[in-house]
Point group: C2
Chain length 218, copies 2
């Protein structure tokens, strides 16, 4: 018998960090890690790590900690990294090109299977071994190559239209770099990377540090 439980969203965020650190420790030759040790490098409490991991069963050893090999395997499985995710990049401007050549993506099992751009001046050029394709071919190639993820690195004005086309073509997940919300109803998942919002929040935090908390009354 198997039961289904909801995974708290913040936990998912952390699982990804756990896996990264587990990989790093394994590369260093370690064979095990305690929740305390993991928490220290990641800036989290040991309790939180144990709580997170306990959602997926018991794979720690009291008195010892967690063995890196099974922990890594299980995290990979949970995060869907026990397979290759074919990914399309739409928008091959400076940002798109940076994404295509971004080391960690390739290293972590995300395979850039196609790159598209609307600019005829870019179409035909090659970035990191990938030929930039015309937008006209988008639907055909997404479907032929069974591409499940799409990275949207086009200007804000074009983002929603691109998202619509990707989803219509069968993409199930969008990584959005444009500073706007993508509406895909229930047809896909969307994750956003929002530089300016992040920088703005940083400026806010710094303001607080400089000025203390916000005054409610002036």
């Amino acid at each position: 018998m198997s039961s289904r439980i909801p995974i708290p969203f913040p936990t998912v965020k952390r699982l990804s960090l756990y896996l990264r650190e587990v990989d790093r420790l394994q590369a260093r030759g370690d064979t095990r890690v305690s929740s305390r040790q993991l928490g220290k490098t990641l800036g989290l409490t040991d309790t939180q790590i144990r709580k997170d991991l306990s959602l997926f069963g018991q794979f720690g050893q009291a008195g010892i900690g967690y063995l890196l090999t099974p922990l890594g395997e299980r995290l990979r499985e949970i995060l869907g990294k026990d397979r290759v995710w074919r990914t399309a990049v739409v928008g091959a401007g400076r940002l798109g090109q940076a994404i295509i050549s971004y080391g960690p993506f390739a290293r972590e099992g995300f395979q850039i299977a196609a790159v598209f751009d609307a600019d005829p001046g870019l179409v035909g050029k090659t970035v990191e071994g990938q030929e930039i394709l015309s937008m006209e071919k988008l639907e055909e190639i997404i479907s032929d190559h069974q591409i499940l993820l799409g990275i949207v690195s086009v200007p804000q004005e074009a983002a929603q239209a691109v998202a619509d086309r990707l989803v219509d073509a069968g993409v199930l997940g969008l990584l959005n770099f444009a500073p706007t919300r993508l509406d895909v109803a229930d047809r896909a998942s969307v994750a956003s990377v929002d530089f300016s919002s992040r920088l703005e929040r940083l400026a806010f935090q710094v303001s607080l540090g400089l000025k203390g908390m916000i005054d409610v009354e002036e």
Copy 2:
């Protein structure tokens, strides 16, 4: 008399979105907006928006909604956008160059005041009107130009060392693009933009959609 209250972290995240939408509506010629309307475009509930805004005083009008001009002004003030933030970019590889030329930053009051890179092959070149400077000049220029924010777009291995130098030089906020945690103790604020973690979470969400919730027992 004035009292100080803590601002919930999730609220800060949203304030930035509110401001962006307010600006967009104003550019379109609108003069007011209701929490309902705002929520619809941003994918949030109207109650949440009102709760968020109410933390900073009452500036809506019952029966009418919020006037865009005062709302925008107040948001800008809260977020620390009523001033120019001089910002340094460290790491002028593809990602760094994409960041430097990223439109929304400039448009939103963040001024790139200096660009550094450790690669002698890049030093002296110009990106978007900015000369890439040698790392040797970092401390001097940060201090002379009173740069308060630093963007870290170097490889993971170099990130912590760069962060240390920036903070020592007087930077108060770091926007970190490297897939690692930056330890700055209490000397600065850090915000991270973590592409791979985001993509991993997206893959996880898609897995859920494909496979349903995680099985607790196999």
